[in-house]
């Protein structure tokens, strides 16, 4: 039943060799990997306006220079990351680059913040997508947590089905989004140019002069949230079709160009239309409404925006499991993240990502405004570390023309570092959680690593010297009566060794005597030892007896406890049996160094 539902949702299992077919072409990669970056347009401008609004309407003018600055930053990031792609053709995520050049601890810092960040990507994108929907249909505003969680569930299932299939689903909405935003921008500019908009455009006024540098920086850093997602391409190079580096670099450039144009376009329109952010309608929704009215085109734009935001979360679904896989391979995360599922995706990573981000959405009530700063810090820390790693790499390797490349990465590093610091400085009240969460994650990495190393030490053998040693064998069979199961168990034990002893635990002298007599009659060729339990516990006297056996024979013999166990036909039949055998096994396995053999007896009725 469970497996049938699984088949239906996930699809048939795939062979390991089918993996090459799952690789991405440039256009598909643009769909899968850039939706995160492109969708940032849906909230980037709004984040700037939200901050500027606190200084009054007139301050909204500043959104234009700030947007230009963000654009400049985008250029720097694209150039920096282009270098990373060529330097790390097998996947140059911040984790790899930082670990390679700055040491393990720094690598883990980058990896940890990226992991946290991917979870936030899903949470932010699904929340923002829900806001696009509730802007169009205000009556859904109260159900936004539910909508966001359902979308996360849907994405999780899609990703468990495998990457290519997801890409097919994704491609169309991404292209539609790009087209419709371009249409919106062009139509908006035409409408504005022809004087079709009668908005109160706020000219520079005296009220604006007192705007503080602090506020401007805060608005700038908020705008930088539009840059989140740019790193996705460089992390996912192994998913590209060959030649992977060139395809990845080309995808990155395409993405950067589209993103830049859309972002500046939206910012300009917002300014020209004199739009102020409000908590029930997004800026993009307001622009679309002003341009086209609440008609078919408006709803189409909102729908596509919601779609791409939901699908932006998908970037994290490609990136998180891959990063978790790399961390697990380096023994900083549990092994389970290395297992490919039936459909060749890293199922455990996908599921964990879905669960954690759904949790985050629920805790933050689907409120993007509080999630985005956390998200941006999570992005800019690994940005910075990755650039720093590249700098060290150029200095160490000094290839032809390294100085120019070094300078690009230096500029990149300094810019992202500044933004990180501005974030921390201007929005500490919203991002402090990162400074609690990150150290915990990194500590966990180290603890996990130590555990695996410890185990490897304990398990390692010298194949020259350590060989299997043959010893004697003693088998203890706890019996509760004389039944077919007991006979079966004794047959088994006697087939293996002559040192077999049956143990019976009785609660009173009468039952012990009766058992001894019956055993004698039966005479199965095995010695019976009877124990009396004053406290009506079977386990405790047995454990004591096994200790005695251990003390006597563990030097010369392997000790086996042979436990007969009923396997009932229906699970609820288990309620009808005191599963002493299960309890006994649980006690033995955790506390004694003996082999526990279970003789199953499959009940037929």
């Amino acid at each position: 039943m469970v497996s049938r539902i699984k088949r239906l949702l996930i699809g048939r299992p795939m062979k390991s060799t089918e993996i090459e077919g799952e690789k991405l072409s440039k256009l598909k990669a643009l769909a899968v990997l850039s939706s995160d970056a492109l969708s940032s347009v849906a909230y980037g401008t709004e984040q700037i306006l939200l901050v500027l609004m606190t200084a009054g309407f007139a301050a909204l003018w500043y959104s234009i220079p700030i947007s230009v600055a963000v654009l400049g930053l985008l250029l720097i990031l694209i150039l920096s990351y282009r270098q990373t792609i060529y330097a790390y053709p097998t996947g140059g995520g911040a984790y790899i680059v930082a670990k390679d050049n700055l040491g393990v601890s720094t690598g883990l810092l980058a990896g940890g913040s990226l992991l946290v960040d991917y979870i936030l990507t899903v949470a932010v994108s699904s929340s923002a997508g829900t806001e696009a929907i509730t802007s169009a249909f205000p009556s859904l505003h109260d159900h936004r947590v539910l909508i966001a969680v359902l979308m996360i569930l849907f994405l999780t299932i899609m990703n468990l089905r495998g990457i290519t299939e997801t890409a097919s689903v994704l491609a169309l909405p991404v292209y539609l989004f790009v087209i419709s935003i371009f249409v919106l921008i062009v139509s908006g500019i035409i409408k504005y140019a022809t004087g079709g908009v009668h908005a109160e455009v706020h000219e520079m006024s005296s009220a604006v002069s007192n705007i503080s540098l602090f506020l401007l920086l805060k608005a700038f850093s908020s705008g930088c949230s539009a840059l989140t997602g740019v790193e996705a391409v460089s992390n996912a190079i192994p998913n590209f079709k060959k030649p992977a580096e060139r395809n990845a670099a080309a995808t990155l450039l395409m993405m950067g160009t589209i993103l830049g144009v859309m972002f500046i376009g939206i910012s300009l329109l917002a300014y020209w239309y004199g739009i102020a952010p409000n908590s029930h309608e997004t800026v993009v929704s307001q622009i679309a409404e002003t341009t086209f009215g609440r008609g078919a085109i408006y709803y189409f734009i909102q729908g596509v925006t919601a779609l791409i935001l939901f699908l932006a979360a998908n970037t994290a679904y490609s990136a998180f499991p891959l990063l978790a896989f790399m961390l697990a391979k380096d023994k900083y995360m549990p092994n389970m993240f290395m297992v490919r599922g039936d459909r060749l995706g890293f199922s455990n990573g996908i599921i964990i990502l879905g669960v954690l981000s759904a949790l985050l959405v629920t805790v933050f009530h689907g409120n993007t405004e509080n999630l985005i700063p956390l998200y941006a810090v999570g992005v800019f820390i690994p940005f910075t570390l990755s650039q720093l790693g590249m700098m060290v790499r150029w200095i160490n390797q000094k290839p032809k023309g390294w100085l120019f490349r070094f300078m690009i990465n230096t500029i990149g590093m300094l810019t992202t570092l500044s933004i990180t610091l501005i974030f921390i400085f201007t929005k500490f009240s919203q991002v402090w959680m990162v400074f609690i969460f990150l150290p915990i994650v990194i500590l966990m990495f180290f603890r996990i690593n130590r555990h695996y190393c410890n185990i490897a030490d304990q398990l390692r053998i010298n194949i020259e010297q350590d060989k299997p040693v043959i010893k004697g064998s003693t088998i203890v069979v706890p019996v509760a009566g004389i039944t077919r199961v007991v006979m079966h168990s004794l047959s088994y034990a006697k087939s293996l060794t002559d040192n077999v002893v049956a143990v019976y635990v009785g609660f009173d002298d009468e039952s012990i005597e009766r058992m001894e007599k019956k055993w004698e009659e039966w005479n199965p060729g095995v010695r019976l030892i009877t124990l009396r339990s004053s406290y009506r516990s079977v386990i405790r006297p047995l454990m004591k007896f096994i200790e005695t056996v251990e003390w006597k024979t563990s030097e010369t013999d392997h000790i086996t406890i042979l436990i007969p166990q009923f396997i009932t036909k229906h699970w609820w039949h288990y309620l009808l049996h005191n599963q002493t055998s299960i309890l006994l096994r649980a006690f033995l396995i955790t506390q004694k160094d003996v082999v526990i053999a279970t003789v199953p007896y499959h009940l037929k009725r």
Copy 2:
């Protein structure tokens, strides 16, 4: 940790031989066993008045003749049950008597309705106790479900500690209740006689003449709820000190007398004071308030009433586990009800009773009015069956003077049968659930019995012919690499037999080749078989391989699958290991007829 909390709540474990010290003296038995019956006084009169009220104030006059009729019924029941006690000195519950004389099915009907009834006893008594509290403190009215459930929890814990200790706790409140109700009745009568009460006593009026027989019968059957609990003594004879029958009979008589006097006293006072039932204050509370005012004595009476009602539930805590034990011994209920816990009580019965009754209270919102009819039907069905059983017994055995005894039981049977029919006839809308629930319970009894009989058939051996047979042995050891655990497992396997084969499941040719090469280098003296898994599943290829081994050797050999298993030091370390071994074991044990031996490897760090 868990076991320390258990110790604190339940007390130290007790030896089986300590059981004699747990037996009850007459006075203690009165406390433990009669609280159910005596506490019925707290709601018996009220149930009559509730029905009569529907015909108007004037109809309340009928409460007096109805109470007298109930009193007559009590006399009949006491005489009947006295005979049962002497006939069944080892415990003459309705289950035993009916099963003995009327056959198994009838016995199970009686047993089933009693089990249901005991659950209802706890639910009704704790709800009624809560009502006594909320009558005194109306502000608690909204929390009555919580209060009732907490009391059930408290009782469950007390009973897990053991019977005698419970008795000590119980004795005082029962005596205090009896004394205070007598004081209340005497004071009330004096007050009424001296004209201290100015109630509108309703004389026979024309309005009453149209009261229907249906209503009178309904009121009468409602009043019979005051008789619930009378059977407790005859069920619990084995708990009495010797001579058990005489002590039990004496206790029964004491109980009957006290109950009768209290019931008729309360009914009289309620009539004289002109008290009408209302949903926020009980009748006893109204009588106490009228007699003493809301002073110390009033609160004392309410407190003691609440206490005895809570403790009435305790009767069921003695009776339910004992009946469950008897049913389990006859293989109609799961074995687990036969196990005596650390403190010699039947812990499983006690816990199940607590859980089910708490559930019932919650579902019925602690509303006694709806629970009591169910409860009464549950009592009068086994009452009737028990009397019928006694009748058959007298006819079959014909001891000296049997005719007189037969007549007593016949009268008893006819009376209780009539009341059962009246209940069904007048309150069908409230008791129909019994006719769904009882058949289910009885069906379950039979299903359980069939299961146990089936198993016994499958397990039975002929000790003359069936002896252990020695066969060969093949051991299969799944290995994932060359480690200390594998070496340990191979040592063990080789010590038992020469037919040992190691199996390795690889996901690609490369890993398989590497493993084969390393195995050759190591040369542990065991053949390695490698399997290739295209679907990255370890379990499926292993299962197939085991099937092949089974097919080849199961005729001549016992097959053992030796599974190495890490035992980590902390439970959360399990998250760090893909527990393929646990999964494999689960698959094997349910699906294959092979012995599964677990070689634990206790990780030290």
